[in-house]
């Protein structure tokens, strides 16, 4: 007879590679939720996820109105893809989504990063993606501790009870 033993999660290393509102917030909520529970949290932003920590973009993230089957009109009717291509629709939908989140006390991206780092969470940018998008450290939010390789990130993601999460 083997006894079931649960190892508690003590640390999460979260990788965010996409730049839509929902992908970025999934990563932010998980990281903040971890520090709130007294766990260690490290966030690694790569590829389009870099928008979440790029000063110019971080508070203007969008959600996709085209190619997003879960997208619905207010009231629940399907959102026609053709509507999504009209200029301004994606911006309008995204602004609406952000205002809905504000009502639930979900902060804007920069304030969310403030909360995570206040709780001891750490924010990193992917070197390969930073080079690819021709960004510099000064283009990135001040929350970013360093621009590192994925290898560096793995090296700090170890330990008993640690998990790597990819969004």
């Amino acid at each position: 007879m083997s006894e079931k033993k649960d190892t508690q999660v003590k640390k999460v290393a979260i990788i965010c590679a996409k730049g839509t509102i929902e992908d970025v917030y999934a990563a932010l909520v998980m990281a903040n939720g971890a520090v709130m529970e007294g766990m260690e949290a490290k966030l690694f932003f790569t590829f389009f996820g870099l928008d979440a920590i790029t000063k110019k973009q971080m508070n203007k993230l969008h959600t996709a109105t085209v190619g997003n089957p879960a997208m619905r009109m207010p009231g629940g009717l399907p959102f026609p893809s053709l509507l999504g291509v009209i200029p301004g629709v994606e911006a309008g939908v995204s602004a609406m989504m952000r205002s809905q989140m504000d009502k639930l006390d979900i902060p804007p991206v920069d304030e969310f990063l403030d909360m995570i780092t206040a709780g001891g969470g750490e924010i990193y940018a992917c070197k390969l993606a930073v080079d690819m998008f021709k960004l510099k450290k000064e283009n990135l939010s001040n929350h970013v501790i360093d621009i590192i390789t994925i290898g560096d990130f793995y090296s700090m993601a170890g330990g008993e009870g640690s998990q790597i999460i990819f969004t």
Partner: protein, 101 residues
């Protein structure tokens, strides 16, 4: 729910140690719960606890406490290390918040 004697008072608490009846709370009970969490309560702690007690019904979040003007979020983490919202609400004798933020 289980029975537990805290600061000489027999209280009903949840399995995680949250008071079932917030009105039974006293500062002595707060001190004893805090001690179990390894925290020695200061005046600053009590300022935060009073804010939590008076805002417990409005959906507490770490963000709200951070905007209370009493303590910023970093300070909140320093006062109640290892999970500020869940520990402070337990000490404050209110129910465990169901917030993700």
């Amino acid at each position: 729910m289980t029975q537990k004697t805290i600061a000489g008072v027999n209280l009903e608490v949840s399995d995680e140690g949250y008071l079932a009846d917030s009105s039974q709370w006293t500062e002595e009970i707060a001190k004893e719960i805090a001690k179990e969490e390894g925290i020695e309560l200061t005046d600053k702690h009590f300022e935060v606890i009073n804010f939590i007690r008076s805002n417990a019904d409005s959906g507490l979040t770490i963000r709200k406490v951070g905007k209370s003007g009493i303590v910023d979020i970093k300070g909140f983490y320093e006062l109640f290390p290892g999970g500020p919202l869940k520990i402070s609400t337990k000490v404050a004798g209110v129910s465990k918040p169901s917030s993700c933020i």
